[in-house]
Amino acid sequence: MSSILQNLVNKPYEHGFVTDIESDTAAKGLSEATIRMISAKKNEPAWLLEFRLKAYAHWLTMTPPAWANVHYPPVDFQAISYYSAPKPKKKLASMDEVDPELLKTFEKLGVPMNERAKLAGVAVDVIFDSVSVATTYKAKLAEVGIIFCSISEAVHEHPELIQKYLGSVVPVGDNFYAALNSAVFTDGSFCFIPKGVKCPMDLSTYFRINTESSGQFERTLIIAEDGASVSYLEGCTAPKFDSNQLHAAVVELVALDNADIKYSTVQNWYAGDENGVGGIYNFVTKRGLCKGVNSRISWTQVETGSAITWKYPSCVLRGENSVGEFYSVALTNHHQQADTGTKMIHIGKNTRSKIVSKGISAGVSSNSYRGLVRIAPTAAGARNYSQCDSMLIGDKCSANTFPYIDVRNPGAQVEHEASTSKIGEDQLFYFAQRGIGAEEAVSMIINGFCKDVFQQLPMEFAVEATKLLGVKLEGSVG
């Protein structure tokens, strides 16, 4: 029956295709000239070029982090093309003007955005190889003062906001990949919710990497002013390629007094084939700053793709009584490696954080949870609760938990719970003896295991995530 388990995880990647759109791709390699070229292509103001060059200077002094429990050949940063954009055409005013090839791609991905966006009431800011192609519902959001656009656009139209907040949560020299992103980011999303506004719909961005070997360096910035709230959804798929693709995004969230930001991700990038060839390297820096009192930032992630995942969505809890949450499901199969978790940095008084991490490993994959809970001396009355559960499917995979706890205030309260379980043939036999087939059984066990996290996702996303896990594990039992 272990072959049953093996097969359930072996469904081929369905989203492997390249859309035939002419790309404007830069020559490979990274230098100051590359950065000046990107900045010039994007017609950026001088302060942004300075920001990039400062980041680049930092990056040159840094080395890739080696502490994560992931193993891969060194990345040749000179073999990457740092800019790739569909050939610029006239600005698109409506969906009708979008390249039909592009629309077809979304069709295949199951994202018929022109319909789906309307039906679901979701505004989709589409990123297609680094350049935003269409933004819907913008006008409707603008009515209540919400800005939701590409970050390039925001640089030109809301420079004061970008200048104030860009790099304020993740400084240019924060870490190797964040520095690289700061130097070469091409596009991403910007979202601003003004004082007192509750965003009337979930905001959603679909990312997709399209050109082979083009590094993707998105930059996302979300700001919720006093009393504002927003729920932001990010979903990803990528085409199938044999050469590894580097992805190093940076996401910054800022929550002011009483603001609430919920950031949900479903990630399904190409993970490489069964033998571990190809797949995306996902080296992402995501961090939220609870700047104001009573603010709240909640990360929910369902990570199922990528050859390597290195990702720690974090919360800096500076405002008094602020709350940070991290809910994660990470599934690895075949040769996938994931080292993911969170950091909760408690600075303000009575700050609270909650971590719920569910790791599922199948095949010969390796799945690690790595988390830091730091209670600063100033964080009197801080509390944290962490729960890290691992599930193993088959006997060739591994699961690890690396919880770091650093408490500098004697009044703080920190709890950590961990468990490891295994879907065994006796469990599957029990289901079978009651008439329930293996796939349904595994899906039921996995969904039960992930319940606490799925409950945090917006309804539509939760359904998608449930299906995705089913697809990812399909055939590993049978």
């Binding site: 029956m1 379980s421 065994g424 043939e425 006796d426 036999f429 003896q433 009651r434 008439g435 039921m444």
Partner: protein, 260 residues
């Protein structure tokens, strides 16, 4: 109840099976007809539990010889879940825990799967809730069971009751109860046995696998079979169980050896 004209539900002929390359079943023969209650007794390691698992299709066991007809059809042509849907039920000796899966959800999926197989309507969660609560009364079960994860943190007795509850829901044609009495205190044994007795009827059959005669005080078998080294070596009426209780198994082995 033995009736000459009743239908044969299970017919086992010369069944041989191995686990990890070691032969455990060495030619089991058993015929079970509708309306009958059979008890299979025997010393540890004589193949009783293996027999139950092989019939249900546990993947660790390999059938190496013989045949089994279930209502006239080749049982081994069916996958384990198909055997269950066809009406073969195994009450587990050690029901496994399934954390995170609510008992109610599990029971409903199992019930609806079998209903669909029988061409009957499925029940939605509300209808099923009423239905299952009714069945739970039979076993004096607390409705809290429905919200808990399958078997997780259940006491030995609770697990066994949950097994019989599943039997009550799935209404199998042949129920094999593997040491359902082990780990039960006297009250739990009375309740579980009472449940089984209420479920027994002229159209189904029950095969009790047990070590002790104790259970048979509550559920009266029509036949008692004694296993020894992977074979049934003696079959008799209920009184055979009492004889085994007082004399042990050795005399059966000796007699079987002499006969062989």
């Amino acid at each position: 109840m033995i009736r000459q004209d009743s239908k044969t539900l299970l017919e086992v002929r010369g069944l041989r099976a191995t686990v990890n390359g070691i032969e455990i079943l060495k030619g089991m023969d058993l015929t079970v007809k509708a309306g009958e209650v059979h008890a299979i007794m025997g010393p540890n390691g004589s193949g009783k539990s293996t027999f139950a698992k092989v019939l249900a299709g546990h993947p660790a066991y390999v059938v190496t010889g013989g045949s089994v007809l279930f209502e006239g059809k080749d049982l081994f042509a069916l996958a384990p879940e198909e055997r269950a849907r066809a009406g073969l039920f195994l009450g587990f000796q050690y029901p496994i825990e399934i954390p995170g899966v609510a008992n109610a959800q599990f029971l409903r999926l199992a019930y609806n799967t079998v209903q669909t197989q029988r061409g009957k309507d499925e029940l939605d969660p509300l209808e099923f809730d009423d239905f299952v609560r009714e069945k739970m009364k039979l076993l004096e079960m607390n409705p809290d069971f429905l919200d808990r994860s399958v078997n997780e943190g259940f006491s030995g007795g609770e697990k066994k009751r949950n097994e019989i509850l599943q039997m009550a829901l799935l209404e199998p044609r042949v129920a094999i109860l593997d040491e359902t009495d082990s780990g039960l205190d006297i009250d739990a044994l009375r309740i579980v046995a009472g449940g089984v007795n209420q479920l027994a009827n002229k159209d189904n059959a029950i095969v009790l696998v047990t070590h002790y005669q104790r259970l048979l005080n509550y559920i009266e078998p029509d036949y008692v079979h004694v296993t020894e080294a992977g074979r049934i070596v003696k079959t008799g009426p209920k009184s055979l169980a009492l004889e085994l209780e007082s004399r042990g198994y050795d005399w059966v082995s000796a007699a079987a050896g002499a006969a062989a």
